[in-house]
Symmetry: C2
Subunit: 342 residues, 2 copies
Amino acid sequence: MTATPTPRVTIKDVAARAGVSKGAVSLAFNHKPGLAETTRDRIFRAARELGWAPSLTARTLAGSRVDVVGLAVCRPARALGLEPWYMEFVSGVESVLAEHSSSLLLRLVRNMDEEVGVQEAWWRARQIGGSILVDFRGDDPRAAMTQRLGMPAVAVGHPSLTGGLTSVWTDDATAVTEAVRYLAALGHRRIARVGGAADLGHTAIRTAAFDEAAGALAGAWQVATDFSGDAGARATRSLLTAAPADRPTAIVYDNDIMAVAGLSVAAEMGLRVPQDVSLLAWDDSQLCRLTHPTLSAMSHDVHGFGAEVARTLFSVISGGEGGSHPVPTPVLTPRGSTAPPR
Amino acid sequence: MTATPTPRVTIKDVAARAGVSKGAVSLAFNHKPGLAETTRDRIFRAARELGWAPSLTARTLAGSRVDVVGLAVCRPARALGLEPWYMEFVSGVESVLAEHSSSLLLRLVRNMDEEVGVQEAWWRARQIGGSILVDFRGDDPRAAMTQRLGMPAVAVGHPSLTGGLTSVWTDDATAVTEAVRYLAALGHRRIARVGGAADLGHTAIRTAAFDEAAGALAGAWQVATDFSGDAGARATRSLLTAAPADRPTAIVYDNDIMAVAGLSVAAEMGLRVPQDVSLLAWDDSQLCRLTHPTLSAMSHDVHGFGAEVARTLFSVISGGEGGSHPVPTPVLTPRGSTAPPR
DNA sequence: AGTGAGCACTCAACCGGTAAAGTCCCAATC
DNA sequence: GATTGGGACTTTACCGGTTGAGTGCTCACT
């Protein structure tokens, strides 16, 4: 199994075999007019026999059109692996990319500087035709970068965060409000929220919405985490160690994995869910149906969200409108982890 | 935000600005000898001022060296999102790719035919310099494909599955044996295994190893699933509905998520873990520490595994040895979900 | 002074395609 | 019979780099 000396087939070989010029082959493979049906067939047959497909590299160089889309993800790897959101999002993105026979260039980065560096390098090196930007934070440098480079991009996040970029977003504020209202309607008066990373824009939005919605209650707590299960467990533990009269009777989590962790902390502390404390997860991946009790959750279609992002990116790449694309607000899906307080 | 008319900077602009030929710029950027220090500096300064980086596309076309690595994953998206293994694996792969300033081209496919198609298209279109092949099954077409195309590739899986391809693998058979021995040593005599997808090669290896190791016990069960939590839950439920004397006292799972699902099924059925039934997870992602009780697991370094795969691929791409690369066997990490049977 | 060796570059061909302009041939039109 | 008009290709000029074969020039050596 040494290095392969396979002489790669090129357009020239196909042209020779079909007895035409390479221009003709190019016409055939781009479905352009100006070729007789019989010639076209001959060309395709030759290509098939030689196992040739046009080199995307050469095609890109000539046509200056790149059909690869970039995605740099900036979260600690250990949190990522457990965050069902990402894979579902990616699978949604890919379902649309596949239709355009594009591919996803993925990179896990450690911080914003690295992400900006990666995006810029990708674009400069003409590796990507556009990029998907996720996890916006306050004072995010990526809108400026995108503008400066003239790179097509779609931002995942509320327009107020994404500095004028074309964006696709879910209405987190409304969803948080709905979550709080639901718990309040069940009779809860002391509600806590275990939020995500504080520097993330959508966390800030949810935090503000929670403040607003829970302001009138007898008790409201918010804790910031890094989205990891560990952090969710710690936060839950500290919320539930207070005296029964001083602790929350319901906790809202910013993702599923923290809710799962919270559930086991409750068990560990001898508290019954939902009798002693109600838990509400966020995203509603399959995980929520695998626990005992099952987890009530704010539920949305992450796969569809990814698909919408990809569609929007293609439209931006081809010079389309851009603008702001809200997708449906997460809806409450009650299951076994929420009930009226005792 | 219309289409960007930004005239892209090319090597010619840099050459002009530095007052040299484009050949000189190329020499400088490839750190080749034959340039005065001062000229080199001038070139780099000019490039920096113009914000230029060599086009990977053009470079690839000229040099016929591609620094993108392909990975097509063939699992249902809903199972994938919950499978921490993949993201951790990818993050390990990327840690090595980053050192070589390569990137990962990712694609989720629905079946083997599609994967073969994607890999072949990638290679033919010169989009990738090599590929990582995962989830081998019996009679896998990918070894033949790789050979036929002359594409550098590294297979993740036991050499017996990967048809002569360079492979990186964990010794699942030994690990399964160790798991069974451990449970037997605790006193368990009726042990079940909730396995992964039956058509996957490594599932078959584990199944055979379990048969061998558990053959002498009073009771041994094996169930195949699709790795999803749902399937894990169903399998557990059916194992545990038998009369107490006829049901397993310990269950080994093929991944973490099914073990989590099993845990909640036990709870739902009123069985205590580990007193009534011991559970043993596989992979040992963070998830195992987030449950109550925590899950004992067969533990291994998936990140490091991914890194080793990437290193091996680079070596194959540059004409290196290939061969078979075992990585350390998973080790048993006892936690709260295993104990002697009552 | 003549020669050869090195160094520091430049030049031009090439990688594998695309796309605009050009060529050739035949049928229809005046 | 000359003109026009297409259809069906071919030619040629890029795209943005790399690379090997030149080209001056300076300097050491005989």
